[in-house]
Amino acid sequence: MRITKVTLKNYRQYQDCEYSFPTGAWDSHLFIGRNTRGKSNFLNSINWCLYNDEPHLKDKDQSLPISNTDLLKQCSDGDSVNVEVMVEIQDDDGLYIQYKRSADFSPADNSVGAKEKNNRLKVYRQKSDNRWEPYENQQAQTLVEMYFPHNIREIFFFNGELLNNYFTLSTSQRLKNTITVVSKIQMLEVIVDRLAKIHDKKMKELSRHSPNLKNIEKELEGLKLELDSVRNEFDEIDDQLTKANKEKIELDKELQSSVDIEADEKDIAEYKNKIEALAEMKKNKEIQFNHNAVEYIVLQYLHDDMEEFKSLIDDLRRKNQLPPPVNSELLEQVLNSGICKICNTDIDAKKREYISKLLKTINTSSDIVNMLMEQSNQLTSNLNSFKKIVKAKDTTLAEIQDMNKLINDYDLKIQELEKKVLNIPNREEIKAKRIRRRVVEDSIARNNRMYGVKQLEIEKLDELIAKKQEEFDKALKKQQIAGKFKVEMEFTEKLLKIAQRAKSELIEETRIEVQEKTKDHFLALNWMRKNYSDISLSKDYELNVIHRTGYSGIGSLSGSETALLTLSYILALHELSNLSSPLIIDTPTYNMDGENLTNFSNVLSEISKSKQIILLLTPKEFRNELENVFTPRLTTLKYIESENNSSVLKEI
């Protein structure tokens, strides 16, 4: 890849400058200019075009505006200066790419600096059918990165200062980073980082999609076994029912016209039971009757005398021939106290005797009356009892007679039924079949109940199995997903391990390769081999030059030797990067002279055989040593001159 054209429009001191880089056997282009003519700004313009910055300014804060200041001064209110830098390259396939950055600048309000707007990069890429395809924004920047990676631009565009101080200014980490970027291992680092994140994510997904399928399967199998068992029981019941129903139909058919011996026998048994109960009741009634009869006979015998005696007493009472009842209590008190209760005087012995006789008479009379009254009451009671006993005797007798009648009736019925049963032919056989039918009917009833129970159990189990099956299907699906995640996670793990291993091995291999290639370039020259025997790039990325005496000699390198070491290192990186980008170096030899300058010029010109070299030199640098080396190998030799306040390229 090489730069084929650069155009600068209103960029700093370049108002209108265009240069097409010719091709030749050597691809070396020298631009010579005194200070302030625009050598460094030529390099800056390429940086501005590609990266929108200018790293080769001495003091960025106090630098002039990017736009040409003469034109900026001429701007009236609202006017602006359009700045445009175009870098055209030809890639290794011979197709062209144009990087074109433009921006508008107007004077700043404080008349210091300029206001910038409409800054944009456009890239036009020639396609194999010669069409030009435009790119902007991220796509345009990607096309910059493809040929001039921003983070390693220092190995394409640099100045003499960097050549002399590269290993002083650069830390070992910077060297490592540059090597990593150049060899594109940084992309491997990105892949490792991203794969690690994806791996973590897959791990989490896997743990989320791992159901306990075995348990669910075991439960489902258990339910299915239970269902099989219940179904077997159900089938058995169904079979028994079918058989029993069939047997019952046959028995019904056989017993259809037969006498119901069972019913008759049952009736006989019932009648017997009734007779037995009646006999017991009759026995009690007879006992009761006998008891009444004895009492009746006694009372019957005394009845007339009792009536007569009662009538006599009643008659005496009616005629008031019975003495009245007298209270002897007063007389007893008088006798006991010896004082009359009426006159309250003491009673004498005569009176006492009299009262005693009177009291005795009264008591006797009262006793008789009382006895008669008691007798009368007893007689009344006995006569009433007699009446009751007569009635009870008659009732009991009637009851006993009724019972006798019933017992006789039942006896007759029993005899009748027994006669009927005894006369039935095959009586025992029919009886056995009837018993069998009853057993079958019991079995049907029992099995019908069990049939229903088992049917419910089956329905319930079917429901449970359907639910469990659904759960199992879901779990299975999850497990299938988990299986997929597992495969993907293991695959990611392998990718990650390989990427990590490739990264560490490539970093190490690249380090050794950079070391060897730097050494190749550095010691390719006899004048270097005279003094130095080896170059080492340690694992800590410390570059060192080993003096032929064996001592570390980087500190004692001359300016040109240091520049050559840097150049060797940069060329080694170029080779490793697979990028064929040109080298643009500003004032590469400003502190060299004599043999060193000749040697260094020889190295640069040799490089231009295979790589485009653009050198920006001061007239002081373009001295005999360098001129002698380059003149026969030059492709371009131009002076940067100022003409009408604008830098232009002129032939020498």
Partner: protein, 59 residues
Amino acid sequence: MNINPKITAKLESLCGDDKNLYKCLVELFYFELLNQKDYTSVYEQYISEFAFGGTDEDN
């Protein structure tokens, strides 16, 4: 723009006979060359594709 051939050679050697592993890593490199930021879905797509034997075209 191509991947550094040293990297592809290294990956090929480390992947051995597992061609899908190698192809997947190369695809990831091409993806990264395009400087893409939203990588998750693309990475997962490649992983899923190559973990189960790659595309028909690859087979």
